[in-house]
Structures are given as C-alpha cells and as structure tokens.
C-alpha cells in the first residue's frame, strides 16, 4: 500500500516541479532504473553476476534505430524487433554459460567476454553502425493519446513515458519474484546444487531469469537512445556494465525497486552538486566505496526487512 502510494505520487511530480533539468534527471533515473531493476533480477535474485547487461542495452539501442531506418518501421515496432534480437542473443550466450555450468567469477568473465566481442563488432562494422562516430537520432517516438497520435517531445512527455515503462518492468519483476519461479530463483541463488537435488531445473530457470532481465535492458536501451538522441559504442562499454552493478548494489539488491534509488543517486547527485568533471568522477567513486563498506545491504536495506527467501 505504502509503496503504491509512493509510485502514484511520482505521477504528480511534474505538476509541482517545473524545473526542466530536475525532471530530466528523473527521466534518466527512470530509464537507468529499468536497466538496474532488470539487472537485479539476474544478480540480486538469481545470484548470477552478468556482465552482459550493458551489451543488451546497447544492442537494443542500435537495433531499434537500425530497424527504424532500414526497415522503415515505427519506434514501437523497432523496439519490439530490438527486444527480439536481444532475447535471441541472450538465448545463445545464456545457453552456452549455463550449459557449461559457469559460476560466479567465471560466469562474469565469460559474459564480459561476449559483451566485449559485441562491442568490438559494433565499433568496427562501419557501414552498418557508423563505428566510433555513433549515430545521431533525428526522429522521436510517437504515442497515441486521446485526440490523436503525437510525438513524444519535451521533458514532461518523456517523464511519463519512462515512468510508465519503469512501472511495467517493476511490475513484471515483482510478479516473477513473488511467484513459484521466484522461489526457484532464490533456491538457485542460495545453493544451486541443492536446488538441482530438489528437482528444480537449474539450467532452465537461470536461463529464464537471464532472458527476462536482458529484455528489460532492451527496453531501457531503446528509450535511453531516443531520449538522448545519440547512440555510440560506449553504451556497451565495461564501464556501463559496472555502473549497472553499482546502481543495483547502491540501491539494494534485496528489493525489486531498490536499484532505482541507486540509479537516482548515481545519475542525480553528481549533477546536483556543481563540480568539475574530475571532482565528479572522484565523488562517484567515493560514493561507491562508502556505500559498500558502510551499507552492505544498500540504501533500501535501511528500511526493508532482511529477506529470507525471495
């Protein structure tokens, strides 16, 4: 109840807050929040440290734009194509990793390797992706509102679009986590050999969580690219992967929506306090280190009860 009220109050923010910069920070928070929440399904709930998340994010950004320009479809069809592409690729990567029972550090290293390979392909496939120069996006998504189809323009429209997307992703993840599947994921996280003995198909559930998580990253990628209006290979960088891990840990990996707080702090805080670029990076690092050492359960861990299963 309390959480639903908190979510609902977010819809009222643009009526109170008229500052465009502040709203833009919230839009970034929501889009990166989608990324962090979906990552946390794989990391916080299934216990797999995936470094493929930034790759899924970047691939979706490119796939949305390329299918729009090459196939001449709308943003939404492009986004769906992107999600399908990401799911297909995750299926390949996930099957390889989970079939060979790669765990913890080794899973992280192999997904990182796949992620880097994808980045190198995108970086060097000049005719298709425009290489290191990236792509400037000129179109905007359109949505249907009562009264006709309108382009999503202005911070306020983006605010609602990203908030609704975030809510849907949080909803799906909550449903997954609270279902029978969520119990299986928790069992795998706690002890996957024991889970196997109990008759849980460890391979299948790890794969499903990996696919759902990456599909979330794909949604975030499509939105992020079109909000920013610019795509570059750095979307898939290792730094991006690590930033996602940081958001999840900072916000707290024990709750579904916790990572959104992490996304907020890591995107907003450096902008609110006006500092030079170097000091901003310094602050970012200091925040990371301090949270990990002082708040190991993340910020949402301060209010949420410790979890036992889900």
């Amino acid at each position: 109840m309390r959480t639903s009220l908190a979510w609902l109050s977010l819809f009222l923010v643009p009526f109170v807050l008229h500052n465009d910069v502040a709203l833009a920070i919230l839009v970034f928070t929501f889009i990166l929040g989608i990324l962090a929440v979906s990552f946390n399904l794989i990391f916080g709930y299934t216990g797999q440290l995936s470094m493929f998340h930034a790759a899924a994010f970047g691939i979706a950004a490119y796939a949305t734009d390329l299918s729009m320009s090459r196939l001449d479809v709308s943003f939404w069809v492009g986004a769906i194509i992107a999600i399908i592409v990401v799911i297909a690729l995750s299926l390949v990567v996930g099957t390889i990793c989970f079939r060979f029972r790669l765990r913890e550090f080794y899973f992280a290293i192999v997904t990182l390797a796949f992620s880097e390979m994808t980045r190198l392909v995108i970086l060097n496939w000049n005719s298709f992706t425009n290489g290191s120069l990236g792509i400037n996006l000129t179109t905007t998504p359109t949505i249907w509102l009562p009264g006709g189809v309108v382009p999503v323009a202005g911070t306020r429209m983006w605010y609602y679009l990203s908030l609704v997307s975030l809510l849907s992703v949080v909803f799906v993840c909550t449903r997954v986590v609270q279902s029978w599947m969520g119990r299986c994921l928790a069992a795998i996280r706690l002890n996957d050999e024991l889970a196997e003995t109990l008759g849980i198909n460890v391979f299948l559930y790890k794969l499903i969580s990996f696919l759902i998580g990456n599909a979330g990253a794909a949604i975030a990628g499509a939105l992020y690219a079109f909000y920013l209006g610019y795509i570059e290979p750095a979307y898939l960088s290792i730094e991006q992967s690590l930033a996602i891990v940081a958001m999840a840990l900072l916000g707290g990996r024990e709750t579904v929506a916790g990572p959104v707080i992490g996304a907020f702090i890591l995107t907003a805080l450096p902008h609110v306090i006006s500092l030079s670029a170097e000091l901003r990076v310094l602050l970012y690092g200091a925040i990371l280190i301090c949270t990990i050492l002082l708040l190991p359960r993340g910020i949402s861990g301060l209010i949420a009860r410790p979890r036992y299963v889900s």
């Binding site: 790669l102 080794y106 290293i109 390797a113 190198l120 690590l242 000091l279 310094l282 970012y284 690092g285």
Partner: protein, 285 residues
C-alpha cells in the same frame, strides 16, 4: 613473411610479459584474499605517472626513478588495503565494487594533478638491437628482461622461502596455515601490497615505452585478468605464460585476421578455454 611473423611473435612476447606482471598480481590477490583487484590498472597508471614525473619533471635518473615509483605505489597500496580492502576479504562482489570506485578516485586524482594532456617521456635508452634482421628497440628488450626476472624471482621466492610456502599454505587451507603460525593478516596485507607494487613496476616501465594517459591501465587490467584466468587462477608461472600466450595470440592473430578485432582474439580463446577446461591451462583439475 617469416620475418614479419617472427617479429610479431617477439612483440607479442614482450607485451605479454607486461600482461603477465598484472596477471601475477591478479592471481596472487585472488588466491589469498578472494577478490579481484580491478584497480591494479589504476595502480599501474600511478606508477607510470610517478616515474614520468620523477625523470622528466625532477630530473632523477630513470633507473633510480623506477624503484622510487614502485615504492610510492606500494605505499598507496598499503594505505588502500588498510582503509578499504581489509573490509572486503573473501567477498568477491564487494571487493569488485570497491576496486571500481577506487579506479574512479585514482584516475580523477591523477587528472587533477597532471591534467589530460598525454605525457611522453624522453627516450631513456635510444637505439635498437638488430637480431638477425629483426629490429627490436633496446628499451623493449630491457623491459622484457626486468619483468621476466621479477616474475621468475617471485616464483622462486614463493617456492623456496618460508614466507612463500606460507602463501601457498594459506591459499590451500587458511585455518591450517593459521595454526601453523602463519600471521594471516600480515600475509594478506603483504600480498595485496606486493600485487600493487608489481602493477606499479609494470607502469613505471610502461612509461619508458608508450605515451601516458590516465586510463592506460584499463586495457592492461582486463588483459591481466584474462591471462590469469586463461592460465588457471593461482598458478604463478601460468600467469606469465598466460600473458605471453595472450600477447602472441593478439600480435600474430592481427597479421592474418582483421587488425580491428585484435582485442577479440584473446577473448575467443579465453571463452573456449573456460568452457572446455574450466580450471585453465595450468590449473589443477
């Protein structure tokens, strides 16, 4: 063509030892404290910048500047270990995040002190060695020999001295080692600091060969982790060989396959090794 291949082979070996020194730090830290110190690349950058500043800024002779730079990096390593890494022992993910935060901190401090302009050290040792038609810059040869001797003497120290055997014992059974009188806390700190000093040495030597920028270590730490995993975590000679294998794969691979995908060849190799021989090339089964 043969000459080209042999030349690239040698180049790969030399760069590979640089990967190897980082890989050695990664392997030691992981074996003893259970974390992967991703900030080793940043420590390498500290070593490189300090060596550059001491030689070109203060006019200290390069052979003297290198040990001072290594000592400075080790002191930083000690500070960081006592204030941060001490609290993340055996916690892979916390250690990972702390070391990532540390990369941001170190890189921004380096930028604040020495700005973004790339730094080029004057030639320490100009001239080339002509080895039966193959041309190798003298300095590259020196760097190779220094790194090789450091890795070999680390191996000797680990296998021949009491402290070295204590490290092995601790890696295998921490509690048993403790009961045998190994001062475990000191040992863990020592290993973390030694790894950072190795990275600092790598950086100080790097400064004499290439142009410096703050993020120079980021590709080396990746290659170092790759080499360590490739060889099998915990194997000392393996990290040297893993580094060389990686360097040679990249150098020779980019002769026959597109240069742009240079960084990918090592990765493909790494994935295959991990899938079919998860303990690495030299790791115990």
């Amino acid at each position: 063509m043969v000459q080209l291949i042999v030349g690239q082979l040698l180049n790969g070996i030399i760069v590979g030892t640089l990967y190897g020194i980082i890989a050695l730090g990664v392997t030691l830290t992981f074996g003893i404290t259970g974390i992967v110190n991703f900030a080793l690349g940043a420590f390498m950058a500290i070593g490189a910048y300090t060596a550059w500043y001491l030689t070109d800024g203060l006019g200290i002779a390069y052979p003297l500047a290198v040990p001072i730079a290594v000592a400075a990096v080790a002191a930083t390593g000690l500070l960081v270990d006592q204030s941060l890494f001490r609290f993340t022992r055996n916690n892979l993910i916390n250690g990972l995040i702390v070391s990532i935060g540390l990369i941001s901190v170190i890189e921004s401090v380096l930028l604040l002190v020495w700005t973004t302009t790339p730094k080029n050290m004057h030639y320490v040792l100009p001239g080339v060695i002509n080895l039966a038609g193959l041309i190798i810059p003298k300095m590259k040869g020196v760097v190779f020999l220094v790194l090789l001797s450091v890795i070999l003497s680390t191996y000797a120290a680990l296998t021949r001295t009491w402290a070295g055997r204590a490290v092995y014992a601790f890696a295998q059974a921490p509690e048993a080692a403790m009961l045998m009188g190994v001062r475990t806390r000191l040992l863990q700190t020592g290993v973390v600091v030694y790894s950072t000093a190795l990275a600092g040495l790598g950086g100080a030597l790097y400064a004499s060969l290439y142009s410096l920028e703050v993020s120079l270590g980021s590709s080396y730490i990746l290659k170092g982790v790759e080499a360590a995993v490739l060889a099998g975590i915990g194997s000392v000679m393996g990290s040297l060989i893993g580094g060389i294998v990686l360097g040679v794969t990249e150098a020779v691979g980019s002769l026959f396959l597109p240069q742009a995908y240079r960084d990918a060849y090592g990765l493909v190799f790494l994935v295959l090794i991990l899938l079919f021989r998860p303990s690495g090339l030299f790791g115990a089964k």
